[in-house]
């Protein structure tokens, strides 16, 4: 997804030595009992009944994302996602909104690097209606030049709103773009104005027939439904869709390992400089992902996290600092970004960030801090999985991105099992100078004076 809004931390607090030692939760992690079904046309259906509230979440995951944008069409997968809300074989434009919002539900979609997901939550007695609607837009779109161009303008506005307009939108865009040299992840999903302008109506049709096919889709249904009834409706609406003979194109490009630190300086409309670091980390399905998630939490989550405490509170070098383990299907990046306080130097901030990384490499974290990180991560996961919608997202992610839906029932236990030694090991393995990219993003105004760059 394109616009990860920076988390603004407004409360200034320090990490004091406390007599209170958090203990890791002994709670047994909840299991999601799900059915996993595959139709003969390759359409996969994951479903989990839960009758605690009369609602149902419906999601269709297409295994196609921004990395699959056609050549010189960066941003296309996302533009295409917008077109899926226009007219289909049997639906008028915006009808999906009427079928959901008008019955007390909601709907939306998102395009990520690896997947495009369409989702609805409706009162459970509308399940069949939405299955029909999703099948209808999988089977065919009614695009014309008029609605294509108007939607392309909407996406260009979205580009301006998320990349150009926020003071650090372009900074995040550049950091992602520069982090990869070969892999298509180097083309941020929002695309570019030139590539969006170059897109043609025919591209839409081609993209739909290439990727929107039953064997590239996973339907996830969670909530208040009867499994037998669901199976019958799925057969009725999705069973007759035919699977094309052509193979599904898949990105084959491998990102080469970094062989030495890479540095960039860029200028923008920002008032205060920003510093970004990225490290290449393995694919989301790699077991080190859990320890990297814990490292993210220790470094950056909450007012008592290490980076916040050192750089915001103690040294007062930065206004905000964010650590993010940005997991992806093929290869991931661990990103640290900081927006400087007035009058501070990027070089000093960079030095402090690296010092905090070194501490985690040199000294194992104490149990209390490790447990705090686990409690924060697991609680936030549990909160997300409380709703039908959140459980469906977790199930879809496990199936499509991790290749095994049952990961949803083991991932929290794996987080709980991470040790201090694991955290130290991944910090040493990935946070090396050879694997580092540094971006200094400076105010345009400082270019002439050359002042703040030192």
């Amino acid at each position: 997804m394109f616009s990860k809004a920076p988390v603004l931390l407004t409360i200034v607090l320090s990490l004091l030595f406390s007599l209170h030692f958090p203990v890791a939760s002994q709670t047994r992690m909840p299991q999601i009992q799900f059915n996993d079904r595959k139709l003969t046309n390759g359409f996969r259906v994951l479903s989990a009944p839960d009758h605690s509230s009369p609602t149902v979440a419906i999601q269709v995951w297409y295994h196609v994302g921004s990395k699959d944008d056609p050549n010189r069409r960066s941003g296309f997968a996302h533009l295409f996602e917008h077109m899926m809300f226009k007219s289909t074989r049997n639906m008028k434009s915006e009808m999906m909104d009427r079928l959901t919002e008008d019955v007390g539900g909601f709907n939306n979609a998102f395009t990520a690097d690896d997947v495009t997901v369409y989702f609805e939550v409706v009162p459970s007695n509308y399940l069949e209606t939405l299955l029909w609607a999703e099948a209808d837009r999988l089977s065919g779109l009614n695009v014309d030049d008029g609605n294509f161009k108007s939607e392309r303008d909407v996406v260009k506005e979205e580009y301006r709103q998320t990349v150009l307009s926020p003071p650090y939108g372009r900074f995040e865009f550049l950091l992602q773009q520069k982090s990869f040299v070969e892999h298509p992840y180097k083309r941020p999903g929002i695309g570019s104005i030139e590539d969006l302008d170059a897109a043609l109506l025919n591209d839409v049709k081609e993209f739909h027939s290439t990727y929107y096919r039953p064997d590239n889709a996973t339907l996830v249904v969670v909530g208040d439904f009867e499994p037998k009834q669901l199976d019958a409706w799925v057969d009725k609406y999705f069973g007759a869709l035919s699977k094309p003979d052509r193979p599904l194109p898949r990105v084959q490009t491998k990102e080469p390992a970094r062989k030495g630190e890479v540095r960039f300086t860029e200028y923008g409309t920002n008032d205060l400089p920003a510093v970004g670091l990225t490290y290449l980390t393995p694919a989301q399905s790699h077991p080190d992902t859990y320890a990297l998630d814990i490292a993210q939490s220790i470094l950056g989550v909450g007012a008592s996290s290490r980076l916040y405490n050192a750089l915001v509170y103690q040294q007062q070098l930065v206004a905000e600092v964010i650590a993010s383990a940005d997991s992806r299907e093929d290869i991931s990046i661990f990103m640290i970004t900081a927006v400087l306080s007035e009058g501070k130097k990027p070089a000093d901030v960079e030095r402090s960030l690296l010092a905090e990384i070194k501490k985690l490499q040199d000294t194992p974290v104490l149990l209390a801090e490790l447990n705090k990180a686990k409690n924060q991560l697991i609680t936030s996961q549990l909160r997300e999985r409380e709703s039908n919608d959140g459980r469906a997202l977790a199930l879809g992610e496990a199936a499509v991105l991790l290749g095994n839906p049952n990961e949803v029932n083991t991932d929290l236990a794996k987080l709980q099992a991470v040790t201090s030694a694991d955290v130290q090991r991944v910090m040493r393995k990935y946070f090396t100078s050879e694997n580092r990219l540094v971006l200094h993003y400076l105010p345009e105004a400082s270019k002439s004076t050359g002042g703040a760059t030192k």
Partner: protein, 483 residues
């Protein structure tokens, strides 16, 4: 990238598959669900403890509700209740603000304290095996806050910044002015975050008094919900709140609930804000209280007018493109709350939008909606309710609200059928007897040059107040010349 040429035939083939059904299948019968049944105990000190078990996720929400909020702000001291709530987490006799934040983060939780109308709530959500340590912190901040000077000053400054900012937005000005016009100096007439003037007047003693008078076990409800046993929960409640002493003094009587003045003339108030890019247009009138027998007829009537496909948005946004969104709300409180219909529009169309708000409220009073229109409007209410009940904090907040207003807790299992049972004629009757548009007040905040002459043609009683002269502390809304 591989290109394919046989596009058309593939498209047709796939389309044929579902061609048989060209319109969406209709909904089946609404499904009924049994929400968990809360159990309760009254502790000897008067604290009402309610527990609701739900075991699908190992989380627990603990919420302590004080049965008073912004409505007991003393005269001239708007904002005390919310400031008091916010200060609870900023230090106790045994924990500094830092320690509170660090301990809560270590448990993986979040602690929130906020005053609303009629209630103040302090709540925390954690994994269910952390019920006891989380409740310990919650009890500490509720019972032993220190209200330190420096924390008061820091928050006062934050509140002043927030309020000053909102006094530059036409829609917030309209809301504040509307409340003052409708409720005058009664309970709900002031901004709950205070005014710039009242915030400067608040002293530490006012905050301490607010806490001493209202934060007491016999004026509170503790609701614990989630993956816990009721026996454990009652034990935890007794352990951390059992020795909370009930003061010998009486709970101060809430000032007489708002009694509408039948002689009150409706007002049309314009706040002239020449730099406003858009005008905020508000229609307000008194609505209902929570125990009103017409509660369900009221919320269903409101839903016909409000929401994306509700009549107000249909007429104002969808048909005429006059606004990004128009809607209304019917807030049922302990006393009679407001009914508010509103939209933002360009300054030039302010009068047209005011006319549409009035016209739509009147139209609903003159003819019942059809079943075709009413059914989806009820579905919107039921859908929102049901989604809210998926998460345990939604369940807890719904139960807290029923308990606060003394409504039976069984109501969570009656909500859906109560909404379903409202008929088109019920809606018409409610609208004509309870939402009479003629007795509404109209507030417009915007650049009056663009709409005043037209407005004066339509209404004879237009009051115009330059935004620089606006004073939210008085009923006539004008700064005194001497000040």
């Amino acid at each position: 990238m591989i290109r394919f040429t046989k596009l058309l035939s593939v498209m047709l083939l796939m389309v044929a598959a579902v061609y048989g059904q060209t319109s969406p299948p209709p909904p089946s019968q609404p499904r009924s669900v049994e929400f968990p049944k809360p159990v309760e105990q009254l502790l000897p000190n008067g604290l009402r403890v309610i527990v609701v078990e739900r075991h699908n996720t190992p989380l627990v929400t603990v919420s302590l509700v004080i049965k008073n909020g912004g409505e007991v702000d003393p005269p001239r001291l708007a904002g005390v209740a919310d400031l008091t709530a916010n200060l609870l987490t900023k230090g106790t006799t045994t924990r500094t603000a830092t320690k509170i934040a660090n301990e809560v983060e270590s448990l993986g939780g979040m602690l929130n304290a906020v005053a609303q109308w009629d209630a103040t709530s302090v709540s925390v959500e954690v994994m269910s095996d952390k019920l006891a340590p989380a409740t310990a912190i919650l009890a500490d901040v509720v019972r032993r806050p220190t209200f330190k000077f420096d924390e008061i000053e820091r928050l006062r400054q934050q509140y002043l910044d927030t309020v000053t900012l909102s006094l530059d937005e036409p829609s917030s000005i309209a809301r504040f002015v509307g409340a003052k016009v409708l409720f005058g100096d009664d309970l709900y007439g002031h901004p709950i975050l205070g005014t710039p003037e009242s915030l400067k007047r608040i002293k530490q003693t006012d905050i301490v008094r607010m806490h001493r008078q209202y934060y007491r076990p016999d004026n509170a409800i503790l609701v614990i919900g989630g993956d816990i046993s009721s026996a454990d929960s009652f034990n935890v409640a007794k352990r951390f709140f059992g020795d909370w002493i009930k003061p010998k003094t009486r709970i101060p009587a809430v000032p007489a609930a708002y009694q509408p003045d039948p002689q009150k003339k409706s007002r049309v108030v314009v706040i002239d804000k020449p730099d406003a890019g858009q005008a905020a247009v508000y229609l307000l009138r008194r609505g209902i209280d929570r125990k009103d027998a017409d509660y369900y007829r009221g919320i269903v009537s409101n839903s016909v007018l409000s929401g994306y496909s509700g009549r107000l948005n249909q007429e104002i946004r969808i048909k005429r493109g006059l606004s990004y969104g128009a809607g209304s709300s019917l807030e049922a409180r302990r006393g009679v709350g407001p009914y508010v219909a509103s939209a933002q529009t360009k300054n030039e169309s302010a009068v047209e939008v005011a006319g549409l708000l009035l016209g739509e409220v009147e139209r609903l009073a003159s003819a019942p909606p059809t079943d075709v229109e009413l059914t989806p409007r009820k579905a919107v209410l039921i859908g929102e309710f049901s989604r809210n009940m998926e998460a345990v904090n939604g369940l807890v907040s719904r139960i807290s609200s029923l308990a606060l207003y003394g409504v039976s807790l069984d109501e969570i299992n009656r909500y859906i059928e109560s909404v379903q049972s409202v008929t088109p004629e019920d809606v018409r009757q409610f609208s004509s007897s309870r939402l009479d548009a003629k007795s509404s007040d109209i507030i417009i905040v915007g650049n009056s040059k663009a709409f005043l002459p037209e407005l004066q043609k339509r209404f004879t009683n237009v009051e115009v107040i330059p935004s620089a002269d606006l004073d939210l502390n008085t009923k006539d809304l004008r700064k005194k010349k001497s000040e």
